[in-house]
Symmetry: C2
Subunit: 307 residues, 2 copies
Amino acid sequence: MGNGEWVPLAHRVPDLGALELLLAVARIGSLSGAAKRMGITQPAASSRIRAMETRLGVALVDRSPRGSTLTAEGALVTDWARRVVEAAEAFDAGAQALRGRRDSRLRVAASMTIAEYLLPGWLIALRGQRPGTAVSLHAGNSAVVAERVLAHEADLGFVEGLSVPEGLDSAVIAQDRLVVAVAPGHAWARRTKGVAAAELAATPLILREWGSGTRQVLDAALAQSGGLAAPLLELASTTAVKAAALSGAGPCVLSELALGEELAARRLVEVPVTGAALGRALRAVWPVGNRPAGPARDLLSLTRARP
Amino acid sequence: MGNGEWVPLAHRVPDLGALELLLAVARIGSLSGAAKRMGITQPAASSRIRAMETRLGVALVDRSPRGSTLTAEGALVTDWARRVVEAAEAFDAGAQALRGRRDSRLRVAASMTIAEYLLPGWLIALRGQRPGTAVSLHAGNSAVVAERVLAHEADLGFVEGLSVPEGLDSAVIAQDRLVVAVAPGHAWARRTKGVAAAELAATPLILREWGSGTRQVLDAALAQSGGLAAPLLELASTTAVKAAALSGAGPCVLSELALGEELAARRLVEVPVTGAALGRALRAVWPVGNRPAGPARDLLSLTRARP
DNA sequence: TAAGGCCATAAACTGACTTTATGGGTAACG
DNA sequence: CGTTACCCATAAAGTCAGTTTATGGCCTTA
């Protein structure tokens, strides 16, 4: 893509502090109250909000002597801001765990997909329930996770895959699903009956490169339908796969977790597949006999559909 | 919720510029290259990445005399960062449109739900196709949108609702759906057969306050099943409704768009409903006869499942 | 071995954000 | 009808993070 006269996003979007302040103003209903909540003074808050309004060219809050409320545009902006702040919170939760402090009271090992999409949310929830718990995270493939759990270097592991590694007990915490998705303009988007496994197998697809968990499950599921055709594109990251599919290059296959937002917004359309099992269990694992206790049990109960 | 020793998110998460820089490093493969791309000097980039590593306590990039590549942890952090940056891009696209400049070549009016969840994505896509197009956005309820379109104050409108306002032609661009969702621990989460409309109507629910489009559709859909019971909670914002449902307070009803992420991550579970039509069309509208042309046509074709 | 990538470090600079210090406005209350 | 207690705005001075400029070391390629 061309560069043109590109300016960094950071110069066009208020910084996280300002967005967070805006959320506080929305919730609390006054600039000074929000300022106190954020640990800054009232003039600072006033100035920041005003700077944000100037930059956006829109009035965000109605000031009155007895408080400030959002304007209609302000409410919309606040909703967009909330999504940024929530993503930042997930980032923070994940990053803190990645730090891997020695004094951690809960050591977790997780596969990539789980670490990327699910764990931050769980950690935020755990922090809500047990604020004191320090968590350390180690990410790797299923084999690495199993190894660390068996060596008692992790209190709890999370794996995605078809089978449970030797020596571990497990509980299914969710049922992930590979999803075939196409851009709305693609011919398959009209197929309400979906595609048969054999047709899917015969079609060149946009895939992650070989070695990814996703790819392995797909290979196994279509083995009896003739095996995978040569890929249309073979890309290194989930993002690249999504981008290619969005541009209409062809059908892609990714975890439902990676596609949630695109599917909800109809930027991509799911194509049902008949005759192949594209599901895979997401499992929590622990050494045989060592049922999780303490913080590990807390986290586990957060992740399971049924406690 | 208690405050405790809270520190602002902005002090724990790198700023957007740093996250964007990290993405550039991931894509380009060198600090100096990423620096050039971002319009800063190489030492600045080096220093920012280093500061980020220090703050997070994790090495993110492997430096070598022939470039820099992400470490395993770096790749994970980059994926989390990408979500923050994408949210910020959506914020920016929406905010720019809200500005409402006079020289806008495309004036759009949209209902709240569409403006909040769908429009930013469309605008990003439009910017990709037609970089020069300046868009102005006006958000309001269906009546306001219709009025602006009829008065030729907007080139294109987007409404959600059961009927098309008088004097407007329309095209269905997506089928939104109200979703009943509960926390995974809730009894309804186990109901694979879902709940009947009558049972839903009789159950106290967590709802948006009266007047919201969501609420109206729900009222209409359950009118023949006995009408809505008194709400369990009646809250002012989508976010508040979600938060209440996440905490296990009870079943909530929200647009599928608002719940996409929570459902994908299984933080909330969808409960199928039988015997009531909870779907509603999302429509683009324009004055009878004035078929959209130019930029409006470009945007319209981006939003339609079938061009 | 010279050239051209890449990255690290040090020191001076800049500017955005902050606090401190005021002032003006509205509402509740005796 | 003043007093008190909120609320917000403005001005001036201070602070610190992030930046540039300048330099040096390392590795590969021709």
